[in-house]
């Protein structure tokens, strides 16, 4: 066997009928730093390229986690949702016809999983608020206390909204998704979404009154 081929085999996933199959990541050699676009990664992941999928996970687990943690006010539940969402996405990639639609699909699935978790929860009294310090005020120690108290107030005000109102407000105001996309996610019209966001905004603003 020529030497060059032997070397190449070392990083291939080999399946010999005489040995137990070993799983080795197929893909680019270590040290590759090219940042690939979503559509390329999705096309590769759909055909079983685990490394391409890992790049998508690393790229989008943060925003999905931040959405889930604000939806659910619980770090543990948020991580469970994110894990399920990415495993489901891997299983359903073959059914995603447009490669560029991946992010929208992630937002839709994450939102719906969160709404399901909320519906399955016991009455509100059991829900523990899990408030986060704002990382945005680092370096501004004087404002830090006030800002985190404001954020704490906002977080608990968010918890007073219905799950769908909270989803609409977060998707629009924090994640910048379009009204049409949010409507599609919640299963309603974009006019209804605008209405829900307006109502959410008015309720939240009322809670913010002491800080103006």
């Amino acid at each position: 066997m020529p030497l060059e081929r032997t070397v190449a085999y070392a990083w291939l996933e080999l399946v010999s009928s005489m040995t137990t199959p070993i799983e080795v990541d197929a893909g680019l050699p270590v040290g590759d730093v090219v940042v690939l676009d979503d559509a390329t990664l999705v096309a590769r992941a759909r055909e079983g390229d685990v490394r391409a999928y890992e790049q998508l996970v690393r790229r989008y687990q943060g925003p999905m986690y931040r959405l889930a943690v604000r939806m659910l006010a619980s770090v543990g539940d948020a991580e469970d949702v994110v894990q399920e969402v990415f495993l489901t996405a891997w299983r359903q990639l073959v059914r995603l016809h447009e490669d560029a639609a991946f992010v929208g699909w992630l937002y839709r699935t994450t939102t719906n999983r969160c709404l399901n978790v909320i519906r399955a929860r016991k009455p509100r009294a059991d829900v523990e608020l899990d408030q986060h310090e704002s990382s945005g005020s680092a370096g501004r120690p004087e404002r830090a206390v006030e800002t985190s108290a404001q954020l704490a107030a906002l977080v608990s005000a968010l918890d007073q909204l219905t799950g769908e109102q909270r989803a609409c407000w977060l998707l629009r105001e924090v994640h910048g998704r379009s009204y049409d996309e949010i409507a599609d996610t919640i299963g309603t019209t974009s006019t209804a979404v605008r209405g829900r966001i307006a109502r959410a905004r008015a309720q939240l603003a009322e809670v913010m009154a002491p800080w103006r």
Binding site: P21, A43, Q83, G195, A202
Partner: protein, 187 residues
Amino acid sequence: MAVNRANEDYLLPCGRDVEQVWQRLDEIEAGRADAHELDCPYCRATRESLTVLRDLARELVAETEGPSLDLTGRIMAAVRAEVRRHDLLPLPTPEPGGVRVSARTVAAVLRFAADGVHGVRARHCRVSTTDTDDLAMTVEMSVAVSYRGFALHALDDVRARVAAAAEAQIGVRLKRLDLILDDLYDA
């Protein structure tokens, strides 16, 4: 914006509603307040609350807090557990028992070869052996090209590199390569 039912619950005593105040926030900050907005205490109070809310929303947008560091590992372990190993291609070997390689792995090698051409990114790649010759393969590959850096000869380069990688790195002759340019990317 028309007052709809959703906003009627949030009418201010002056007759405007919270959403109207929100819509006008940027205009007023740009110094284009109307006479009512300059004087109305209800509008001013609402505006101040909305400004606090808007600033907090911006803080949420700027948040970078992520899940625990091992979450990617947990997700990928679950993903790998589900990877199906099928579509095995035979490789040339003088040893008894045979050696097979998964089509997925061959596809990864060929995509990497195509990626080596400037302005080209390989996407879909299907590898199969030919009916007549086990040690020759046919490949269907789609590529996206950079619309700034694209040159037609790049596809010839892709063809040459993919053929070379098939023989040198996998040891199987490339009998046929169907190359499809099906997208552009912005870079």
